[in-house]
Symmetry: C2
Subunit: 336 residues, 2 copies
């Protein structure tokens, strides 16, 4: 079966995280790739006030490109985007810096349309520790309350960059399924950013979901063949089950080196920090030939079909699982 056939069936493709330069050209590439919905990162280190400016920038983007874009706050918005051939955009943050020390800001930012928050970015914060800290003392007192509040208002908890103990604590404390929007099993690709069997088992037991990541530093680099990425998907399905595995590319296209420095170093250090990169590989990674951009999503679905996955399984992994997860996860607790 060719990707043309899949495309005809209006398969929902949903990407669990992208951090690229959002402009009209990028939207058209997403459309070319048949993408119905993307979780877009709008905050890395910003505080509450700065987050308002970021959110406002997104509102202006939604207005300017309303012929191509639908802001997503509920599952039905994703269906609408898919039906109309538009791109649904879920706003999320890769940090809880926006909340500062104020529990009530969870609901405030949820009301602004931020439907996903990663508990920590690359550093320890008021809530917990990141995967790069030497020690991780787990979810803080404030962190527990934030998890409860996110549960209450229907904001999805993301643990992608979060440390081992904080991740386990958060999964244990959350009354609702959580997400790891962009990471891989660390026994397949060893990296601080990838996830241990313990965390992924806990995620599985929580009915949570894992978005597998094509960021070159989290796989075998830019030369990773498509077959190897397909293999990652298949092996992760073997572990997690086909309903709890999805895609979260972490695609970072057309971003400046200044932004890379902000992404890695924020305001917290004056020394170089390479994040998931290294001194030998300090800049933006080159993406694999089979995923040069969002227009290449059909390569992944085609790879999965050729590997022998059933059509329904491919549809689950490429978008169906995210859709079901978000459809429920974005509801207020009292609506469930």
């Amino acid at each position: 079966m060719s990707d043309q056939n899949l495309s005809k069936q209006n398969m929902m493709v949903i990407d669990g995280l992208e951090l690229s330069k959002w402009d009209r050209e990028f939207l058209l590439e997403l459309k070319k790739g048949g993408v119905s919905c993307v979780h877009a990162c709008c905050v890395l280190w910003e505080n509450a006030r700065e987050t308002l400016s970021k959110v406002s920038g997104w509102y202006q983007f939604f207005q300017k490109h309303s012929d191509l874009v639908i802001p997503v706050r509920r599952g039905e918005d994703i269906l609408k985007a898919n039906a109309e051939g538009k791109i649904g955009i879920i706003l999320g943050t890769q940090n809880t810096s926006s909340l500062e020390d104020e529990l009530g800001l969870v609901e405030v930012f949820e009301q602004l349309g931020i439907k996903i928050m990663q508990l920590t970015y690359n550093n320890q914060n008021l809530i917990g520790s990141s995967c790069y800290e030497a020690r991780d003392s787990g979810l803080s007192r404030y962190g527990k309350l934030v998890v409860e509040e996110m549960n209450r208002v229907g904001m999805v908890i993301d643990l992608s960059h979060v440390g081992e103990q904080t991740s386990l604590d958060a999964i244990h404390h959350s009354q609702r399924p959580v997400a790891i929007t962009h990471a891989n099993p660390d026994w397949i690709y060893p990296s601080k950013r990838n996830k241990s069997p313990e965390v992924l088992q806990a995620l599985k037991d929580n009915n949570g979901i894992l978005g597998l990541c094509a960021y070159p530093h989290l796989i075998s680099g830019s030369e990773t063949p498509l077959e190897e990425f397909v293999d990652l998907i298949v092996r992760t399905i073997d572990f997690m089950g086909v309903k709890q595995v999805a895609i979260g590319t972490d695609l970072t296209l057309n971003m400046s080196d200044d932004f890379l420095h902000w992404m890695r170093m924020g305001r917290w250090t004056h020394e170089m920090d390479y994040g998931a990169g290294s001194a030998n590989n300090p800049s933006w990674p080159t993406w694999p030939t089979w995923f040069k951009g969002p227009a290449d999503f059909p390569n992944i679905s085609q790879g999965l079909l050729e590997r022998g996955l059933k059509e329904a399984e491919v549809e689950s992994v490429m978008g169906g699982n995210w859709y079901r997860f978000f459809d429920e996860g974005f509801l207020r607790q009292k609506e469930m």
Copy 2:
């Protein structure tokens, strides 16, 4: 006809502004007075970040008292509150300090549920001048854009404390009807805070609406008889027409002197400023015997009936006019 009869008909009573201490006791007083909806002031001098905390406080209030309160963002929420015997609360600010210098924050705060903003409080700001400035250079360049943006997103423009020229400019520049939620004609009660015939004529021509104010400093003081307040309403109807006159009591109950100082002096002066008060009358005013609190609204409707207004006219002034104004005013421009 007695007020009992009016109450049976479920007449909608809507108050154009209150700034009281919001607690459960106050809600029960509103209920006793048959009040369906109140515009509640949640910001006086706060900047963007501080406004988030204020809004969050209101969300917590809504959650805690959800058996008595409905947050209002659309006209239908007012109808729902009225039908269920609850209090609809419209959040608004008496200043544009929340916007700072960032046009995009109009939409951000609208998304948080702030559906009314007064362009200036008692001082000149980035947008225009207040009624207390010696000179009023009118709506600024930024102010014009803010008016346009408020028009676009369906945030009601309030001119109650705004200076003469800025008010005239704003009415002229607005493509949609504007409100003066709490002020009186200055030819009936001379005060900088009350409004000239020129402004009220412009408001009338704009299809705007005036909420008449029982704040003692803006009428004849605490001793003002009910008949005189009724007379104010009737004379204002003669000028504006019965569809453009409403009530905006400016009720300030159970607030501390510390809050009074914040209300008048914010952070902008270290000297005493008396606002609408005076050195001889520096504290919170005593309210007239016929309006000791929101349970006394039936006194006003009863007074209007006894003065000879038709029932339908009383219903318009007591709430119907605000309802129609808000029902349209809270829509996005593209929804109209």
